[in-house]
């Protein structure tokens, strides 16, 4: 049931929605454009020529710290988060279809992880490492802090995905004599695959852009979002926008791959 389509209300609401989309994307588009400033250009319009000078400057100049290293650390963390989030959330999601003792404890721990201010969780993780005599490091405490952000989202998405999954498929496989792992491999995972891609997308992108939880947990080597956060405070050239365009391009590529993969699978099924 839809409301009348070409009414005054429709046009007012459509206008409001269009304004919101402009609000959402407008500023980003401005910095994408400004990142191609000419060599003598500044942080605001007008454009003084068009160049890729500031992109080249990012990785050539030592002024911005170790951006290459930070980028590779962030990509590795993103992939590790993706893998751990997808696998553990798949099984946890399957488990939550049954009632079991402690399920609500796990659920509320996940919600806690979601709502506790990120930097405070990072403080706790960092201090925990110090107390047990470990040095905080981007791949140990850093990865742990990223998982504290990706795992709750992964579980919530699994709930939504499994909500539309018919357990009768699994039962049929079991009745036909399939073992647990066989059912999982040939029935459950193939059916759930588009949902798992969504979980993986969250796993990667939330880790790749994570700032607050990382600040006190990565130790000596920074991730890309931390380098960018530092740059916002001390870089006053369009190089700041260039890194923004660059990292957004990576995010958009990953989102694009996930969307295309999901739509190809859906199309094949029809």
């Amino acid at each position: 049931m839809k409301f009348s389509n070409r009414s005054l209300a429709f046009y007012l609401l459509a206008g409001f929605f269009a304004l919101f989309v402009a609000f959402l994307y407008g500023p980003m588009i401005i910095i994408f454009v400004l990142s191609f400033q000419g060599e003598s250009g500044g942080l605001t319009f007008p454009m003084r020529g068009v160049s890729t000078h500031w992109f080249a400057d990012l990785f050539a100049s030592s002024r911005y710290g170790d951006l290459g290293g930070a980028l590779s650390r962030s990509l590795i963390l993103g992939l590790a988060s993706l893998a751990i989030t997808a696998v553990t959330c798949l099984f946890a999601g399957l488990a939550f279809r049954n009632k079991f003792i402690g399920s609500s404890v796990i659920f509320y721990l996940a919600i806690t992880s979601l709502v506790v201010p990120g930097i405070l969780l990072g403080l706790g993780l960092g201090q925990l490492f110090q107390l047990v005599g470990l040095r905080p490091n981007w791949f140990t405490s850093g990865l742990a802090s990223h998982l504290s952000w990706t795992l709750p989202f992964g579980l919530l998405i699994m709930f939504a995905v499994l909500n539309r999954f018919d357990g009768a498929w699994e039962e049929a496989a079991r009745d036909a004599g399939a073992k647990y792992w066989e059912t999982l491999k040939f029935v459950t995972i193939p059916i759930l695959f588009p949902g798992l891609i969504a979980v993986a997308l969250f796993g990667f992108t939330l880790s790749y852009d994570e700032l607050q939880r990382s600040l006190l947990t990565v130790g000596a080597d920074n991730t890309l979002p931390i380098e960018i956060a530092n740059m916002t405070q001390n870089v006053t050239t369009p190089a700041l926008y260039a890194i923004g365009t660059f990292t957004s391009a990576i995010s958009f590529t990953v989102i694009g791959i996930a969307f295309v993969a999901i739509s190809i699978i859906q199309k094949r099924r029809n």
């Binding site: 402690g102 979601l114 006190l216």
Partner: protein
């Protein structure tokens, strides 16, 4: 115990273990350290309430909380209005399901990109020589640039709304699209107009979505220090930005006590909302 009944435990085990290790134990660490003492260099295990006494007797604590709550309420207000209006448009006015999903995704894509970049992208728009001021001066509305736009509380709230409104849109959209068309049909047959339907059916049935969105926004705004620091130009503070100063000065026990208080505040607020809404049934609906 049969193999079948053991299954959910084994399936949930890796997830549960990870969460306990990376969330449960660190929070327990914070609580422990909040009772410890420090000389600004080393931590000394103790069971002292001194950090909490300082926290509760300092007038700064109340000021910081009031400022943070002010930012939270403003952000809640604007994101609710925007989130509700956009979802209302998408669910009830866009006829094609494909277009509806495409427009919904358009609203959510920025969630998977860097918040820092989205924050900083307001600078060339709002700055003294920014796009907005050039436009306003260009059409002759004012001679001097509007300076309150950037590095002000206005910029902080604007950035929050920009960053977090999608946390409101997603659950509200979700609630709205589950409203059965026959309910609205029935109301219309009984003589209700669009406005009656909005007030008496859609808003009550969307309350769970609004509550879910509010949980995220409360948590995100109350836990922020970075947006406040950058977008206010260092003029405003929040609970966490003050805490960050203590952390930078290595006053970990004091920071831990402040952290425990803030976590308690956020959790109390969230559990109040959870009392009204059962998220798990909501998600399973």
């Amino acid at each position: 115990m049969t193999n079948r009944s053991l299954k959910p435990y084994l399936e949930a085990l890796p997830y549960a273990l990870l969460l306990v290790l990376i969330v449960g134990v660190p929070i327990a660490t914070l609580i422990t350290i909040s009772f410890w003492e420090t000389d600004g260099l080393l931590l000394y295990p103790a069971f002292s309430f001194e950090n909490y006494r300082e926290l509760f007797t300092s007038s700064l604590t109340l000021t910081l909380y009031l400022d943070t709550i002010k930012f939270t309420l403003l952000t809640l207000f604007f994101s609710m209005i925007i989130g509700f209006t956009c979802s209302y448009f998408l669910v009830f006015f866009v006829k094609s399901l494909k277009v509806q999903i495409a427009l919904f995704l358009l609203c959510t894509v920025p969630f998977w990109t860097s918040a820092t970049i989205r924050m900083i992208s307001w600078v060339p728009f709002l700055g003294k020589e920014g796009v907005f001021n050039s436009a306003v001066q260009g059409i002759g509305l004012t001679d001097t640039p509007l300076e309150f736009l950037l590095f002000s509380d206005f910029a902080v709230v604007l950035t929050y709304v920009h960053l977090f409104t999608l946390f409101m849109i997603v659950p509200i959209f979700n609630s709205m699209s589950k409203i059965s068309p026959s309910v609205i049909e029935a109301a219309r047959d009984a003589g209700a107009n669009d406005f009656d339907i909005l007030i008496n059916i859609i808003i009550p049935l969307t309350k769970t979505g609004i509550a879910l969105g509010s949980i995220f926004i409360v948590a995100l705004v109350m836990g922020d220090f970075f947006v406040v620091r950058i977008m206010s130009g260092g003029q405003s503070a929040s609970v966490v930005s003050a805490m960050k100063n203590e952390i930078d000065q290595l006053y970990y026990p004091q920071a831990a006590a402040a952290a425990v208080l803030l976590i308690a505040m956020v959790l109390i607020f969230v559990s109040l909302i959870l009392r009204v809404v059962d998220i798990r049934t909501e998600l399973a609906r």
